[in-house]
């Protein structure tokens, strides 16, 4: 009978153990250090410098962060972008994830026909380029050539139509819903996979007890996939606070009207790369990127320590 693993490790010569650790951990550590940890630290370092017009840079400590958070010229657009980002995230949490859960529940119904077709069609937009999605929705919602107005008119709701992408009150929510449309397939797939893992005995037992499809879903299946829903939520949070591409593709770097659709990603882009006559400022850009990193880190920590530990897991 082979000895248990801890015992093998304990009796192994030290040099050999170090060699093995290097062999197994080395590649991952090296790759993550090169493409993830080093750029992150370099970004933080860049954020502590300031550059003169002649190209020389000097250390300023946390002065860039003080400027970002206290100078109204920077802090006002920063908080605007952060607030918009939070709204962007909330729309995803309130619309994308419930719809994703509902779709997953429908897909896992036992007597559903054409399951594969639905699954593929709903997942398809996820694989499209954001630029194409932005362009397509721009045309669909266009007040000049779009089909949205005609479609609403045909059901007698023509008066509800507005140039949603151009109004300060609706631009951000419209963009968030476009993003929801594109990515709803991801929560659906993850939760669908979790639902498939639930043993049939549990469902059968519930049916014997006289529960219908909806109550089985609500009382049996949903609590069992709660850990996956938590995972989906945190993935949504990270993706939303890193979002940039859709807003840039549809509204440009100035994220109008009046920065109504400006999120942290577009705010960072303008600061780092500049816009039209605004020259890029890599130091301030790096400061914004660092703050974004800490916002995401804080969110993930809240999830890990406050939510994930309280979720009850069931082993089957």
């Amino acid at each position: 009978m082979p000895a248990p693993a801890p015992q093998i490790v304990a009796t192994m010569p030290r040099v050999r153990l170090m060699g093995l650790m290097l062999l197994f951990l080395g590649p991952a550590v090296a790759i993550y250090t090169a493409i993830s940890i080093y750029p992150l630290l370099a970004t933080m370092q860049l954020a502590t410098y300031r550059t003169t017009p002649t190209g020389a840079s000097y250390f300023v400590g946390l002065a860039n962060f003080a400027t970002l958070l206290t100078d109204a010229v920077w802090s006002q657009p920063f908080w605007n972008a952060a607030w918009n980002n939070l709204k962007f995230f909330l729309v995803h949490m309130l619309v994308q994830n419930p719809i994703g859960i509902a779709l997953a529940g429908l897909l896992s119904l036992p007597n559903l026909r054409l399951r594969g077709v639905y699954r593929t069609v709903i997942f398809l937009p996820t694989m499209l380029s954001v630029v194409i999605v932005g362009f397509a929705w721009n045309l669909i919602l266009s007040p000049l050539w779009g089909i949205a107005e005609g479609a609403l008119k045909s059901v007698g709701l023509g008066s509800l139509f507005a140039p949603w992408l151009g109004l300060p009150s609706t631009a951000l929510v419209t963009l968030a819903l476009i993003s929801v449309w594109q990515f709803v397939g991801i929560p659906m797939m993850l939760i669908y996979a979790a639902l498939l893992n639930i043993p049939d005995e549990l469902v059968d037992a519930a049916r014997v007890d006289g529960l219908g499809h909806f109550r089985i879903f609500w009382h049996i299946k949903l609590p069992l996939v709660a850990p996956t829903i938590g995972l989906v939520s945190i993935l949504t949070f990270v993706a939303n606070f890193n979002a940039f591409d859709l807003i840039y593709a549809v509204k440009g770097a100035l994220a109008g009207p009046n920065f109504a659709s400006d999120i942290l990603g577009t705010f960072f882009y303008r600061a780092f790369f500049g816009n039209q006559l605004q020259l890029g400022d890599p130091n301030m850009g790096a400061a914004i990127a660092t703050v974004m990193f800490f916002i995401i880190l804080a969110g993930v920590c809240v999830y890990l320590f406050a939510v994930q530990r309280r979720i009850t897991r069931y082993a089957f």
């Binding site: 007040p143 151009g166 300060p168 100035l254 009046n258 605004q278």
Partner: protein, 420 residues
């Protein structure tokens, strides 16, 4: 292993730079860097052959990059000493930055520079105007392009005053066949560039107002600036349904499909409409506000050509730059690219009638450039960005003209303190 790679790397770098210097040293060859990759064909088939008629021994290579990559690529090549001899210059700070870092040389001794006005040279001169480092090559002019059928339909002629312009818009709206004013605010820059900077010079008296803003003796809260916003505030009801979500290509399509009457334009739109619009087009200059008699146009400097300080063939490069200042080049360029106008003071015959109309305004009107471009967009908040934002908001009706002027001036006051 690592060591030998390093040796190979340095050997190949040495070989490449040797080859490069050999190529540069071979009698008379110069290379031009530019972001106008659309124009490569015109350079190779028309402009360079015309230059070679005068200087058959100088071999010229036109080597463009994509517009969005040009600044970054050029900076990298300049830092690595691999850039061409002649560099296309963006207007104002981007090129001034290159001059300050000593990548561009002063061209004050170029004889042909006297063919250009101070306004033309301002885009490529130091703030004090002492050094000019690029030959001004082309500008773009703002005005209004209109559908002649639409004006015929309502029996109107070209408006010359703002009052007539507004009355015409009203007439077109009543008639209802055409969208009176083809513009959208979704992309924001059109509101600022085709709106504010288009009609504005008549209000702030062109260069006089632009320089006064830089000196700090005029403010955006002064009536001549707020009045421009007051005019823009009237435009919304005449623009297409849902103009708040209408983007620049939407506007171009709407007009070239013959559905619109008046299009606030930049002259670069001419070639687009020439290719797509099937109806007769005319152009009128920005109408005059009440009481004004002198007209001003935005004749905005857009592209120049400078000399790389590291060029191995400065003599030939200077011959080429000198040729760029001649009327011959101006005529050639203006006709090959209708809508991009040469900046030299000598008048140029342009065959495209729409482009000729635009350039004819230079005779009666005084030229100026966009007032946000020189010096005033160096700080945070950036004036040009602010201008896009408030112009779009004024047209959308979400900001009053007074508030727009106030916001611009407050933004400027935060960082710009002209010596009084």
């Amino acid at each position: 292993m690592e060591r030998s790679t390093k040796i190979w790397a340095s050997l190949s770098v040495a070989a490449v730079s040797l080859l490069a210097s050999l190529a540069a040293a071979s009698a008379g060859s110069i290379k031009i860097e530019s972001w106008r990759n659309d124009d490569a064909d015109i350079w190779n088939s028309q402009i360079i052959p015309a230059f070679n008629k005068h200087y058959p021994n100088i071999k010229v290579e036109f080597s463009p990059s994509a517009p969005t990559e040009y600044n970054a690529a050029l900076n990298a090549r300049l830092a690595g000493g691999a850039a061409g001899d002649i560099l296309a210059c963006r207007p104002f700070d981007a090129s001034l930055d290159l001059f300050k870092k000593k990548y561009l040389v002063s061209l004050n001794d170029l004889a042909g520079m006297k063919n250009f006005s101070d306004v033309a040279k301002s885009a490529w001169s130091t703030d004090d105007g002492k050094d000019t480092f690029c030959v001004p090559m082309a500008s773009v002019i703002h005005g209004f392009i209109y559908n002649k059928d639409a004006l015929k339909k309502v029996g109107a002629s070209e408006p010359t005053t703002m009052e007539e312009f507004n009355a015409l818009l009203e007439k077109l709206k009543k008639d209802g066949t055409y969208t009176p004013l083809v513009m959208g605010t979704a992309d924001q820059w059109e509101a600022a560039t085709m709106g504010f900077q288009n009609i504005g010079p008549n209000y702030w008296h062109g260069e006089q107002g632009r320089l006064a803003l830089i000196k700090g003796t005029e403010k955006f809260t002064d009536p001549q600036y707020v009045d421009v916003f007051k005019e823009l505030a009237k435009w919304g009801p005449f623009m297409g349904n849902g103009f708040q979500a209408q983007k620049y290509p939407d506007s171009q399509n709407l007009f070239s499909l013959g559905k619109g009457a008046i299009y606030p334009a930049g002259s670069w739109d001419i070639s687009t409409f020439r290719a797509t619009a099937k109806f007769p087009m005319g152009a009128f200059k920005p109408p005059l506000p009440a009481g004004a008699t002198q007209c001003y146009i935005s004749d905005h400097t857009d592209i120049g050509m400078g000399l790389n300080s590291a060029s191995k063939n400065k003599d030939d490069a200077k011959k080429f730059l000198e040729w760029l200042t001649t009327p011959e080049f101006a005529t050639l360029y203006a006709n090959a690219l209708p809508g991009f106008f040469p900046l030299s003071s000598t008048p140029v015959a342009i065959k495209d009638d729409l482009a000729a109309t635009f350039v004819s305004w230079r005779k009666d009107c005084k030229s100026t450039i966009r007032n946000s471009y020189q010096i005033l967009s160096r700080g945070t908040p950036n004036l040009e960005n602010e201008l896009w934002n408030v112009s779009a908001q004024v047209i959308n009706g979400t900001m009053t003209p007074e508030a727009a002027g106030k916001r611009l001036q407050e933004g400027l006051d935060k960082w710009y303190h002209p010596a009084k």
